[in-house]
């Protein structure tokens, strides 16, 4: 199946376009701020930024309904923001503070929100794939009509447990949407150097799972594909695979040697395929907004992010007693 393209004139409503713009911009500014705080030593450990991939999660959230679940890997900040989690709580978790979603005990890779149906934040590559499949098992068991978005990367697709999960999901018609975020590099190993068959949307074929490749830099294409996948899963037809062709602008984590790809390659994607620029153009060309209105949105988002950063710096470190809590129910 060819990559879906919708870089044509959009008939998407102004409200939707502005919503996508705002959401993607929030993720980008948030991540830039996180990178900055990392550089200042306020965020420690591993920190994986989502910059460049914003359209994937924003487009799919636009296809989701209240109560649908999501689970992802350690590159999870964008997913949490798009799921509606509070930027303050996310940023404060990054700084390891009491006000963080996990009270400072999880960090960048381990955050959860029962309220927003966000089931992590998983630090082990591909571990979230059976977990998301199990969430879908629970939904089917409860016959509640919900679906689970299970995100993983082009690195995770070569883990064995992915196929164990695919098999059971297909065998039992579980309402799960497997979203492969193919940003083309598993840490520093490109798809061509890691995968015998690079067309990941076909990886479920042998198990009877339909899939399609999607331009993951185009939020409208993502949303459309997401709607097809959701309809399939919600109708009881079982799992569906969406391979999102996307790109990460930053390194794998904050400590990335940047030796495995050229600066020109990154620059080219930024200049020609950027997801936020795309929606910005659609807004301007469609006369849905002018430069001043967009500037006002930029300013508003910047304020939200600054407020989150401020909160994350001000929130106290967890009390030492917290070391011993939340181990047992």
């Amino acid at each position: 199946m060819a990559t879906a393209k919708s870089r044509k004139k959009s008939n998407t409503s102004k409200e939707d376009l502005l919503h996508h713009y705002r959401e993607m911009l929030l993720i980008r500014r948030f991540e830039e701020k996180a990178g900055q705080l990392y550089g200042m030593g306020l965020i420690g450990g591993f920190c994986h930024l989502y910059i460049g991939q914003e359209a994937v999660v924003v487009g799919l959230e636009a296809a989701a309904e209240e109560g649908d679940k999501r689970v992802t890997s350690y590159r999870d900040h964008g997913h949490m923001l798009a799921a509606g989690m509070d930027p303050k709580g996310v940023m404060a978790e990054l700084t390891g503070r009491e006000g963080g979603y996990s009270k400072g005990k999880g960090g960048s890779m381990h955050m959860f929100s029962v309220e927003k149906h966000f089931y992590g934040g998983h630090g082990i590559v591909a571990a979230q794939v059976p977990i998301g499949t199990g969430l879908a098992f629970a939904d089917k068991y409860n016959e509640n009509g919900r679906v689970t978005f299970t995100y993983f990367g082009d690195g995770a697709v070569n883990q064995g447990q992915v196929y164990e999960a695919f098999n059971m999901a297909s065998l039992w018609d579980l309402p799960v949407i497997y979203v492969i975020e193919n940003n083309q590099y598993a840490m520093g190993t490109s798809v061509s150097r890691s995968s015998s068959t690079p067309e990941f949307f076909t990886r479920g074929e042998a198990l009877g799972i339909p899939g399609e490749a999607v331009d993951g830099m185009d939020v409208l294409a993502v949303k459309e594909a997401g709607e097809r996948a959701v309809a399939h899963a919600r109708a009881g037809k079982g799992p569906y695979i969406l391979e999102m062709k996307t790109y990460r602008y930053r390194g794998h984590s904050m400590s990335d040697p940047a030796k495995y790809r050229t600066r020109e390659e990154v620059q080219k994607v930024r200049e020609t395929q950027d997801a936020i620029e795309h929606v910005r153009e659609l807004l301007l060309q469609g006369k849905h907004a002018d430069e001043d209105e967009l500037k006002a949105i930029d300013k508003e988002i910047k304020a939200v992010v600054n407020e989150a950063a401020e909160f994350a710096r001000e929130s106290p470190e967890p009390a030492l007693d917290e070391l011993w809590t939340d181990i047992y129910a």
Partner: protein, 463 residues
Amino acid sequence: MATEILMPALSPTMEEGTLAKWNVKEGDSVSAGDVIAEIETDKATMEFEAADEGIVGKILVAEGSEGVKVNTPIAVLVEEGESADEAAASVEKAHASTHEQGAGHPAPAKVADEAGPGGQAPAPSVPDDPEIPEGTKMREMTVREALRDAMAEEMRADENVFLMGEEVAEYQGAYKVSQGLLDEFGPKRVVDTPITEHGFTGLATGAAMGGLRPIVEFMTFNFAMQAMDQIINTAAKTRYMSGGQMSVPVVFRGASGAAARVAAQHSQDYAAWYAHIPGLHVAMPYSAADAKGLLKTAIRGDTPVIFLENELLYGHSFEVPELDDYAIPFGKARIWREGNDVTLVSFGIGMEYTLKAAEKLAEDGVSAEVIDLRTLRPMDTAAVIKSVKKTNRCVTVEEGWPVGSIGNHISAVLMQEAFDWLDAPVINVTGKDVPMPYAANLEKHALTSVEEVLEAVKQVTYR
């Protein structure tokens, strides 16, 4: 020349079975490979084939006979013209005499003699348990039945409880622990999985995060090593990593430890492995009553539980109180025998050696206090300390490997908390520090023994 047909063992742990059906009658001719009988155990049913050709001269054990010991002659094959009765008589006589000499026939496929674990020893009497009200009726049942009853009761009580694993449904359980559950609860709640440990462990963990209460049966815990990442990194740690927001109410249960002649990859004791992990609860019951009561508690709790059973104990019978709601709290040891001279600490199948050793010690005038830890995390070290303050001596007993063992941990705790009360170094009786060998004699040697426990007690009591 008459040939006797012996009651077969369908598995290494089988000691007796039911001769369910004869497919032949006296006078029939049979060839090698003919199905001549059907044999049943509590675990399996199997068609039994003739290994020789001949005429069925005499059927010695009637169909429908229960409790037929392995290697008992069940029929006699004769050649053309041979007298069936004479042949049968001579066979029976020969069998009796060789048995007396302890040679001739291969020994029944069982792990150990009376001194070791695994024999269908008479049920030891369960000591008075303060949790059981006076006058409660007791019913004798196997560990296998107790586990099934615990699951069935909890599944009746809570729609969100379900069982999944390899062969749990239509096959009725590889070790028949889930027998009958499919009939009562249907395929939605008794789910046969593909052979995909890592996958279904992660799936169950996700289902638990999504609000269900899965019971995952590992055919044996040896296979759970494939799923270790999901057990440790996801199930055990999620509550902590989520700041207490999300719990993972899943029970992982199945057989752990050596069975009988299944060699290195199928014989590992996982007590110490899982007891190491904060975020997990770990139970390793010995008796049927504890198996039932602890499993019920495990299913109800919101903490992920590792429930370590033992294949050799499945068929052992114990008295179980007939109570509507017999749930035993985790972290409370059971004292099987009170004593003053030495404290013996064990759990799971280690209790077999320990109780037998305590009996022999009593005959020799040594009064041993026997503590069954029952759960390894949380562990009732307080009970051990209290006992050692009385006896001043301690021996721990387990089948697992010696390095980083449960015994090591108890020794360290005693050193720190009861140093001044100890009159001798604590000795850890364990399995040997080797992969489990296949050969019967080597396997027996690799496990621990009653003799080793007695020797350790001799050392700590300076006798």
